[in-house]
Amino acid sequence: MNPDLYDEVRQAFTTLTEEAKNRRNAFRESPLPKIRVGMATCGIASGALETKKAFEDALAEYQVKALLKCVGCMGHCYAEPVVVIENPGFPPILYYKVTPGKARMIVKSFLLDGDPLFEHLLGAMEANDLIPPVADFPRFSREKKVVTEKCGLIDPEDIYDYIASGGYAGLLKAFHMRPQEIIQEVEDSGLRGRGGAGFPTGRKWGLAQSAKGDEKIVICNGDEGDPGAYMDRTLLESNPHQVIEGMALCAYAVGATKAILYVRAEYPLAIKILSKALEHAKKCGLLGKNILGSGFDFEINLFQGSGAFVCGEETALIASIEGFRGMPRVRPPYPVHAGLWGLPTLINNVKTFASIPLILNNGSAWYRAIGTEGSSGTAIFSVVGDVVHAGLVEVPLGMDLKTLIFDICGGIPNKKHFKALQIGGPSGGCLPSDFLDTPIDFDSLKGVGAMMGSGGMVVMDDETCMVDVARYFLDFTQKESCGKCTFCRIGTFHLLRILDRITKGGGREDDLELLEALAQDVQKGSLCGLGKTAPNPVITSLRYFREEYEAHVKEKRCPSGGCRTLTAFYIDLQKCARGCDACVGSCPVEAIFTTRDRKKGIDQALCVKCGECMVACPKEYSAVKKVSPPHLAPVVERHKENS
């Protein structure tokens, strides 16, 4: 940038920060209590809208004045709807699972009468003498929030909230640096692409910068298609400006003026918030022509991805923006040289862009100090499935899986046991408990057959069948295969067919060898990442859970009871209580009948094996049993007069 313009740019930015500070102080110094409701998709799904309405109604009813603010998501999905209340005289308090009823109670008891309702709070947000701080829980203390630090604390629809918390300062800093210096800083930080493959970001930027062409394009890949992962969505919904700032920094460094933010159409809230954020940034002079008077032009257009998993692959993503079927093409040429409309195109993931402002503000050495030698920084995971504290977790790279699952996320619920961890989505693998000491970083995970992926982690307990999980992923990749490569198109189809018959009790002697051979062929014969990694769930589950496959094939038995064709439910007449009707209403197909002595039986011909009766049966009886193979279930005849 032209040094003559430094003063002008700084002046323009100071005007913005002053305005932001004034707004923040006006909010902070207000003597009124402040209520912050988490309103990202998961919060809303848990009823945050109703909770907010209940707060509004209760405030009006009890004539309490308070400031109500909507914020994003802190990642504590298990506790949603989450509300933080700052009541003068108290530290900020975090309340969990705030139902409308709880909201009314909080207004009356806490805001009106000064009782913080100890039984409903999770903890205080800062250290104090009165209320135990949340930092005492491993869920808070072992996490390291870097990229998601501001998520859930700021209002995503208010650009000034982001600026007041240090936002867009990286952009100002960048204007005082040469593009080469910025790229060097990113390279020094050791940041690797967070989309899954882990390519060094600095190197990619260097390639884009040196690529020939007057016009260059930056694309932010928010096509988060991995089922079971939602880190990108949460970031975009809770702190959109951090991603926008990262994109602007990237464009400035590599010499691009246009960018496309590619977001799944399945994320309507993220799209709404992003459109608003882009508009605000433009209004504040942080996007568009002549940003802050620096002479740097940069615009971002939003593109809604139409839901095709393969579009996570960069050449397929480009094809879909161009208006074609999202099919990958042969690389080289790499998009960095010839991408969208033949122009040099740089594609990074949402989380990669969100890391950039932090690196620029705090320096590469600071970033490098987090994580490990080969994988610096933090990783954001969505830990879901059979785990107590499911949600979004950000941890420094190098932490072992055990700490993440058992300490931070609270382990396995319902007194069951850990069986496997699926990491990396349909392209990743299933790891058994022997691998829980594996550190989380790009290279270690690859070494054991899994991969970082975009950050989806599904924990499975001992009632999950690994063959069925492999079948599930194959079903997904088979449907999502674009059809370009024969091995991916037809190979996955046959892999799925074999797995299908194994889970239904039709497995043949040589099926396991066939699976292994075919899986390798699909890996070798496919062009893009989808086909190359599609067999991973099969390969890893065959490697680590072979005895389970063998039980299916040889004994037609599903050891964990996950395959419905191979299991049956029956009612143990020794345990069933006479006259008890608890299970009858729970059955969706009326398969439960009353026996001659007023106990219950299950009609195997009608039963769909949903397991509802098992849930409904009172704990003290626990009469409903599950067996595999199904012929082990004792036959209870339907009582003639009854039918």
Binding site: T41, C42, I44, A45, S46, C77, Y78, E80, E224, G225, D226, P227, G228, A229, Y230, R233, A265, E266, Y267, P268, F303, Q304, S306, G307, A308, F309, S320, I321, E322, G323, F324, R325, G326, S382, V384, G385, D386, A390, G391, Q422, G425, G456, V458, M460, T464, V469, Y472, F473, F476, E480, C482, G585, S586, P588, V589, V608, C610, G611, E612, V615
Partner: protein, 178 residues
């Protein structure tokens, strides 16, 4: 006589007449194909054959090309959805927690298969890959509302709820007339 509710939701204007004028706001460039298809679906809730023809003419490409692109992506549907479109999430977390069973229950209760709409146009069901509310698994969407922690009994209750509402509406309507 149509009640207010139906005017708002049930009797959605599904004619393709408004499409040509909406098309004018899009430049005749190939890169607009997907945004145009998204607009059509937004307007009509599905993409009828006539609309495909209109889009093809606007962009001066073959209708088969438009259809080819539209069918490639999961977002687009080619039959009108029901008044209460049900989407059952079958993402990884939902699968592990029994999403398949939820899907089956909807299919059985409504007597239709994945991708179909009931004869009375009240319900349609479809499977979606992941709605990103994995911590609430298993999840189902009815319209825009996300229902977390689904169970077969909840499916029954939900459908019954809609049916009761409809019956109530019908009776009120009857009451108005008498």
């Amino acid at each position: 006589m149509i009640s207010m509710e139906q005017n708002k939701e049930g009797e959605r204007d599904l004619s393709t007449e408004k499409i040509p004028s909406r098309l004018q706001s899009f430049e005749r460039e190939r890169k607009n194909l997907i945004p145009i298809l998204q607009m059509v679906q937004q307007e009509l809730a599905y993409i009828p054959p006539e609309a495909i023809q209109m889009v093809a003419e606007h962009l001066e490409i073959a209708a088969s090309e438009v259809y080819g692109v539209a069918t490639f992506y999961n977002q687009f549907r080619f039959n009108p959805p029901g008044k209460h479109p049900v989407k059952v999430c079958l993402g990884t977390a939902c699968h592990v927690k029994g999403g398949e069973i939820i899907m089956e229950n909807f299919a059985r209760k409504l007597g239709i298969q994945d991708g179909d709409t009931t004869a009375d146009k009240e319900f349609s069901i479809e499977r979606v890959a992941c709605v990103g509310c994995c911590a609430l698994a298993p999840v189902a969407l009815v319209g825009e509302t996300v229902h977390g922690h689904m169970a077969p009994s909840k499916v029954e209750g939900m459908i019954l709820g809609f049916q009761i509402e409809k019956e109530k509406e019908r009776r009120e309507k009857g009451g108005d007339e008498s």
